[in-house]
């Protein structure tokens, strides 16, 4: 690698990075992606069940999610390829009366953003999904939530971005940032140096390391999130994504395989390990069989583990940082980044090309964590809804 230069360098070939690369390249910006792995979407970008949920979003995220939905609906046409987009909704089952009460409160709140949700009694849930047991108390159904194939989304963005002239460096790890007079001047990698004035930190669970290279602390806790995949079976669940406080589940329409995952328990395991954990498999099996007993006897054929980048308040970090000019953050998506993919790319492109975003993103600034450690405590007192 000799004397490379780019207008914008994106660190990370995951969903947000790829979406931003596509938007920037399409806008005529000279953009280069640096990815430490051998290919695109090798981490959480390709290790998630593909859920696109509006249900139960943080109030700051809801307007962005509504905007993202509009982009999702046009994405197959825009990228010129299938992303296996289906609109069958999310069913969030409540396991207690308290949870049901909380869900009912969301219906009106989310209606203000134009998100349709229906609170269901136990019998109504079982009518919709007879395979769900009476272990549940009721649920919340969001009929317009989507599912897409994360591999096809990543590949679509990658292929179009390359057609627009974006460059990609795989097997290349960022080991430092070149700073001069309080601003970014380049990216140092294990393969050489790239001169640039704009760096987007979209490095997911590793984004805190990139931050530290610029002297910035980004509070990221990496957490493994494990799924099991079963052999195919005739459809017993409607093709929605089923979520609860203890499990996430989806039966894939085309073949009938079932993906079953855990939601991360408060104070659960942290770290970067992607090894299959036996105790987690036991927890997944035990939890899902309480909710869908008809899965008894079904064979597990694979497991996968992705790394979620949790922040102290479960919201992502976005935007410029005051201390270092030219550095832009898009990280800490806390397990709900895939759904935001199209809008994050759009907002990053607006920020870089036009200097401001068309939607409010101030709530996601890094400096919200400077106020104290109260939010950090919340991380462990809160059940993550991470599908």
């Amino acid at each position: 690698m000799t004397s490379l230069r780019a207008d914008v360098v994106i660190v990370g070939g995951g969903q947000s990075g790829l979406s931003a690369t596509y938007e920037l390249a399409k806008a005529g910006v000279d953009v280069l992606v640096v990815e430490k792995r051998e290919s695109l979407a090798m981490e959480a970008a390709g290790r998630n069940p593909g859920g696109i949920r509006q249900i139960g979003r943080d109030i700051h995220e809801a307007p962005l999610m509504v905007a993202a939905m509009r982009r999702w609906h046009g994405l197959e046409e825009e990228l010129g390829c299938s992303i296996e987009l289906t609109e069958d909704g999310y069913l969030w089952v409540a396991l207690s009366e308290d949870e049901l009460e909380m869900q009912r409160g969301l219906v009106e709140r989310d209606a203000a953003y134009g998100i349709k949700e229906f609170a269901l009694e136990r019998d109504e849930v079982r009518k919709m999904a007879p395979a769900v047991s009476d272990f549940i108390s009721g649920g919340l159904y969001s009929p317009t939530d989507l599912i897409a194939n994360p591999f096809f989304v990543a590949r679509g963005y990658f292929d179009r971005a390359r057609e627009y002239g974006a460059r990609f460096l795989f097997d290349t790890e960022v080991i430092g940032l070149r700073l001069q007079g309080g601003r970014v001047r380049g990216v140092v990698t294990d393969q050489g140096e790239i001169a640039t004035d704009v760096v987007v930190n979209a490095a997911g669970p590793w984004s805190d390391r990139i931050g530290r290279m610029a002297g910035i602390e980004i509070p990221i806790t990496p957490c493994p999130n494990q799924f099991i995949v079963t052999e195919p079976m005739p459809p017993i669940l409607p093709p929605f994504l089923l979520i609860s406080s203890i499990a996430v589940c989806r039966q894939c329409g085309a073949r009938g395989h079932v993906y079953i995952g855990n939601t991360n328990a408060p104070g659960g395991i942290s770290g970067y390990s992607k090894a299959t954990d036996y105790d987690e498999m036991v927890r997944t099996a035990t939890n899902i069989l309480k909710i869908v007993p008809a899965f008894r006897g079904l064979n597990i054929i694979r497991t996968w583990v992705g790394t979620i980048d949790f922040t102290p308040d479960d919201n992502f970090v976005f935007g410029r940082v005051e201390q270092v000019k030219g550095l832009i953050l898009a990280c800490g998506f806390s397990g709900h980044g895939f759904a935001l993919t199209p809008i994050i790319g759009q907002l990053l492109c607006e920020l870089i090309v036009e200097g401001e975003t068309s939607l409010p993103v101030d709530a996601f600034r890094l400096n919200r964590f400077e106020r104290g450690t109260a939010e950090k405590a919340k991380h462990f007192a809160h059940q993550h809804l991470d599908a």
């Binding site: 299959t276 899965f295 006897g297 054929i301 694979r302 497991t303």
Partner: protein, 86 residues
């Protein structure tokens, strides 16, 4: 000609995916589902790798294999279930 018997993926589909830039066993799998079935590519993985090597003019040793993940053989979900012993 069927290459992946579990997911019924043909040679034609795989060759098309390779032509579209899927030059690793992992990306052929992600694009076509070859290797996502019951045997997890234990039958077709080598065939897919050979197709990639042939179509992209590289040695078989240069084609990256797919990631192997547990379980080694299919196991029923419910043998992992923890029951309350009462």
């Amino acid at each position: 000609m069927i290459i992946c018997r579990c997911e019924e993926v043909t040679k034609e589909e795989i060759v098309k995916a390779i032509a579209e830039g899927c030059d690793s066993v992992t990306w052929v799998k992600r694009k076509t589902r070859a290797g996502m079935g019951l045997c997890q590519g234990r039958t077709c993985g080598c065939l897919v790798a050979r197709l990639i090597a042939g179509e992209t003019n590289q040695g078989l040793g240069q084609v990256l294999p797919d990631t192997r993940r547990p379980p080694l053989r299919p196991i029923p979900l419910d043998i992992l279930e923890e029951r309350d012993e009462k």
